[in-house]
Point group: C2
Amino acid sequence: MRLTRQTNYAIRILMYCAANEGRLSRIPDIAQAYSLSDLFLFKILQPLVEAGFVQTVRGRNGGVKLAKPAEEITLFDVVRVTEESFAMAECFESDTECPLVEGCGLNEALRKALGAFFEVLASYTIQDLIDARPNMRDLLGLDVQLDRAAAPI
Amino acid sequence: MRLTRQTNYAIRILMYCAANEGRLSRIPDIAQAYSLSDLFLFKILQPLVEAGFVQTVRGRNGGVKLAKPAEEITLFDVVRVTEESFAMAECFESDTECPLVEGCGLNEALRKALGAFFEVLASYTIQDLIDARPNMRDLLGLDVQLDRAAAPI
């Protein structure tokens, strides 16, 4: 049982943008912070843009920023967009061959367990993840970038 | 996010044995009920035997039965034995490259969510799943087998 890489990196991208609130985050900088290719990053960004979590600004000085406050994006919101399926078992699908499918207690138990899982995720926002760690900007190399930008040419 | 096929069928095998309590369940009968090969069934049985959930009886009239009451086997007990990993994301593993790994709030949020998931699973026993469905024996073809066994040759 594991979340997809998409979900994992989607959350990290949102954390990066939240830690860099008030500024545009450059794709190559985010990619470098997480050792990802720009291409993979763009792939993950797409559903985040469509869901209204981030917005992109094109051009030479372009980048990406949160489209809504980090306090208003919960982990459940993200997971719902990035995970492909929450079919915990064959009996969540319509084409199961299990003879017990009609009303078997397993399906109900798994649904309740998944509900409890989601409830905890819904109680955490992207801002909570940022607040949990005071030196987030350091860890992401964000202040290094500012220094570099401010340095004389 | 999905449970493995092993987990899914392990629970179903235990349900079969529980529904057939007091008798030995034949491997070919369980396999037929769930449209599985005998070989795959044996593969799933092995960890269930090792964990003390079922015991096998060899020989022509052999089969498998629960090694402890169905009320004493929770879904959490089963999942703990049959799922290979609960590393929800890269940051659960020691070789992650994420710069945020030390104390990032995501890891904590996912651990709590997984804890809530497990807590629900721990509240359901195999017997609960059987009790949820009054005609379980019918659905598994168990009474058909008894009729057949009792029929004159």
